[in-house]
């Protein structure tokens, strides 16, 4: 499918920019989605700082399923399906902790932190020592990647490695994971993981975080209250006066984001004016960042989405969110917050307060979002409502490739929002990729970049 009518022709019709409500509310499509999308995509599991010591574990999710992120006795990181091989009971029912073994409470089978089956009750007596324990270890993910301390996993051995899956989108993820001063991998998880359930399909928040700038009006009250770190608006975005605001979408990967491109010789803008110490810290970081080589100092992060269900918010608040599907009509949201590891405690405290004020179930901005998603979902489930598709026509035909501004190049398809204000290019990109996953029988069909590289190599011969 390439921009026409895909996934059960007509459900995702990118030629007309129309998408059926069925993909959000249909239980059969949801069930197929678990197999086609979530069992084949790279999914975010957690952060290595959650499991610093051997035996540490954190129970996470992949799609609907519970998984255990743990560090074994040899300090190797693993991700296992949280289900006993004997009768399927969860072998770990805590959120996190430290253990020598994961013991199933049903019949007592027990597994080491490397997943090996180490304890079988009445092994000699009932099994006559005949059970081959080596065949019954915990189910482990096919692929695992630790990238700048974030942990990602994939059930599909044929999927490309994580960094290839990420492609040129890596620079946008780095905006969260690198230090604010530009040093690599300085992010630290702060506080616990916020978890809550919302009554809508997971694609509502995924679409929103893909780069929906059109809905800003729904946050008007937060802007008026002045929830931002300088006591006005929601965020300090003074760079907007000089920046180019962009939608960037990678069609072959399904990742997309808003980003701000700054002029070549921009000056750091004032921020965090409610706290002189915090303002000083970020001013110092911005100056350090600009001294480092590379064009990344000219990028300012904004909401984005790594296909399928990981949302980025690199700046104010600095957070990753995961939209875990629970059913066609329910999503469990997990939100992870980050700060610079070396930041003064006062800065971390200030940011934590701001993050909580902004995001999560009690966050003023996220409450606005949830109200929209939840009611939109409910109002799309009815027999009559399902007959009418949503429109995604905004900005169709206006994206450009090879975008460049004063030496700063952008990958993928770009729409300059500086004048346009909004487009639906990121949403079309999300659903194009979603439809490709729903249709493709194997990863061979989902890696056009490899086909292109092979064709170019062939042509060169």
């Amino acid at each position: 499918m390439n921009g026409t009518r895909g996934y059960h022709p007509g459900l995702v019709d990118l030629a007309s920019g129309q998408i059926s409500r069925e993909i959000f509310v249909n239980d059969e499509i949801y069930a197929q989605e678990q197999e086609r999308v979530f069992a084949r995509s790279w999914l975010f599991i957690g952060h290595e700082s959650q499991i610093p010591k051997p035996g540490d574990f954190f129970v996470s999710r992949m799609g609907e399923e519970s998984v255990i992120l743990c560090r074994d006795r040899a300090s190797r990181v693993h991700v296992f399906l949280n289900s006993c091989r004997h009768r399927g009971m969860k072998v770990c029912r805590y959120d996190d902790g430290n253990t020598a073994v994961f013991t199933c409470p049903y019949h007592g089978w027990s597994y080491g932190t490397d997943g090996a089956l180490v304890g079988v009750p009445f092994f000699r007596e009932a099994y006559h020592s005949e059970l081959d324990k080596s065949k019954w270890h915990l189910v482990e993910v096919a692929q695992l990647c630790c990238y700048k301390e974030t942990v990602w996993a994939n059930w599909d051995a044929s999927a490309p490695p994580f960094l290839e899956y990420l492609g040129a989108f890596r620079r946008f993820l780095d905006l969260i994971l690198d230090g604010w001063d530009g040093r690599e991998g300085q992010a630290e998880l702060i506080g616990g993981v916020q978890k809550w359930v919302i009554p809508c399909n997971w694609k509502f928040p995924a679409e929103n975080f893909s780069g929906d700038t059109y809905h800003n009006i729904s946050h008007r009250s937060v802007d008026l209250v002045g929830a931002g770190p300088s006591g006005r608006s929601r965020r300090d975005y003074n760079e907007l006066n000089v920046a180019r605001k962009l939608h960037v979408a990678l069609p072959d990967r399904g990742h997309q984001t808003i980003t701000y491109a700054l002029p070549k010789y921009h000056q750091p803008q004032a921020a965090y004016q409610n706290s002189p110490e915090v303002a000083d810290y970020f001013r110092h970081c911005e100056e350090e960042r600009r001294r480092r080589p590379g064009a990344e100092s000219r990028l300012m992060g904004a909401p984005g989405e790594i296909f399928p269900n990981v949302a980025l918010l690199p700046r104010q608040p600095r957070t990753l969110a995961v939209w875990h599907p629970k059913s066609a009509h329910e999503t469990e949201v997990w939100r992870f917050f980050f700060v610079d590891r070396d930041a003064p405690q006062q800065v971390k405290n200030f940011l934590r307060d701001y993050y909580i004020r902004y995001s999560g179930p009690a966050g003023m901005t996220e409450q606005d979002d949830m109200e929209n998603w939840n009611y939109a979902h409910a109002a799309s489930r009815g027999t009559i409502a399902r007959r009418y598709p949503y429109t995604y026509e905004m900005g169709m035909g206006h994206a450009v490739e090879n975008w460049e501004w004063d030496g700063l190049k952008m990958p993928g398809r770009v729409i300059d929002l500086s004048k346009a204000q909004a487009s639906e290019e990121p949403m079309r990109n999300l659903y194009r990729r979603w439809a490709e996953f729903m249709e493709a029988g194997s990863w061979n069909k989902l890696m056009p970049w490899r086909r292109m590289a092979a064709a170019e190599a062939q042509a060169a011969k």
Partner: protein
């Protein structure tokens, strides 16, 4: 039938008797109430186990020696 023993309370170094008659010294206790890690001190039905460390199932523990 003997009363069940709450193995979660057993400290490292405690000695327990198993249903087979073997005696085992606890070397670690994961405190999950299901398993102990122990070293065999005696094992009449399988002498090769003496000195070996193994996982001990809660239902196999019939008495606490010390």
């Amino acid at each position: 039938m003997s009363y069940p023993i709450n193995i979660r309370d057993l400290p490292v170094g405690a000695r327990v008797m198993l249903a087979t008659g073997a005696e085992v010294e606890i070397v670690s206790n994961p405190e999950d109430g299901v398993w102990l890690f122990g070293r065999y001190l005696s094992s009449a039905d399988d002498p090769a186990m003496v000195g070996q460390e193994d996982m001990i199932f809660a239902q196999d523990v019939v008495a606490v020696r010390s």
